[in-house]
Amino acid sequence: MRSIVYYVREFLRPEWLRKFFLVKTAPLETPSYFKDYPSLTGKECTACFSCMMICPAPNAIAVLRRQDRWEPEIYRGHCIRCGLCVEACPEDVLASGRILDTTHRDRTAFSSWYHLEVDDTLCMRCGNCCVSCPVNRQVDPQLAGTGTSASDEVVMRVEGGRVRILHEEKCTGCKTCEINCPNRAIRVARMVEGVQEEAEA
């Protein structure tokens, strides 16, 4: 009996009722500097696709053609909010948290290039890669069907019985060579490096 009275008294205390029915802490707000899904700043997108290429999550971002302009679209449920696309975009089309402020302040950016690698144990020196490369075709229209070339300006050529890469920096990353290689011997990789400009003294 005494314990029933005790419990009834305990549960009828206004303090207990208030705490039971009402939330004690103020609603937690997400601070504005938190990284969120990237939003559009309204600047013009040049459709360079840097954002799509750097995105680590599958199908998270697509640069779409709208009526009269290009526009990146972020897909929730796919995007992991890493913010890499914001950093990679050269035109500041995207914004998220204070990433843009930081990259502007520190003058950081991403530089990218394409790295070509031929696995000599797989390559059978057919020359398909050198022949199919559109850059090669433009530099040296006389490029032979075997992949040999008299020009030193081609991206790669068959030289002394093996594929030699001469001008990696001219590669546009089209991967035509990869598609045309019968042995998957040549690989094209997009390399990205974070760079920082010297701060002004």
């Binding site: 039971f20 029915f21 939330v23 004690k24 802490t25 937690l28 707000e29 997400t30 938190f34 680590p56 999550a57 599958p58 199908n59 897909y75 929730r76 449920g77 796919h78 995007c79 992991i80 909010r81």
Partner: protein, 151 residues
């Protein structure tokens, strides 16, 4: 009857029991769910209680991108939860497979293919606040006037 229903509504809105199941995630979302229990977010002050017994649960938080071994077990767990019940997908994994949605990975997202999902909280991982507000907004929708809706 409606007074009884009102009492039920009031009690249910302050007593939401949550069970969570990880069907193949990286554990990031599990940690965010656990962070909801910590004093910083304190999920219990909203009347949400976490304990991992599906038979006691109202809300099932599904985490992870569903590996094939989990498919039948996830259905079993869903069957065990008494009505009224609701499943919430936490994180990108149950929605799209997130970073596991690639060729050659042993996952079969989305989780909607196996059990009905009432709400999803995207994010990799979602913030505890987002998980909290999702539970708080979806649970009353399903549980309010449940008995009257049945008739």
């Amino acid at each position: 009857m409606s007074i009884l229903q009102d009492i039920k509504n009031a009690v249910r809105s302050r007593s939401i029991h949550v069970s969570y199941v990880d069907v193949g995630s990286c554990n990031g979302c599990d940690i965010e769910v656990l962070a909801c229990l910590a004093p910083r977010y304190d999920i219990e002050q909203y009347g949400i209680y976490v304990h991992n017994n599906p038979r006691e649960a109202d809300v099932l938080l599904v985490i992870g991108s569903v590996t094939p071994q989990w498919v039948d077990k996830l259905r079993d767990i869903w069957e065990k939860i008494p009505e009224p019940k609701v499943a919430v997908a936490i994180g990108n994994c149950p929605i799209s497979g997130c970073v596991y949605a690639r060729k050659g990975t042993l996952t079969t997202p989305p989780v909607e293919n196996y059990i009905p999902i009432a709400a999803s909280v995207p994010g990799c991982p979602p913030r505890p606040t987002e998980i909290l507000s999702a539970i708080l907004s979806v649970a009353p929708l399903i549980f309010k006037d449940y008995e009257e809706k049945q008739r």
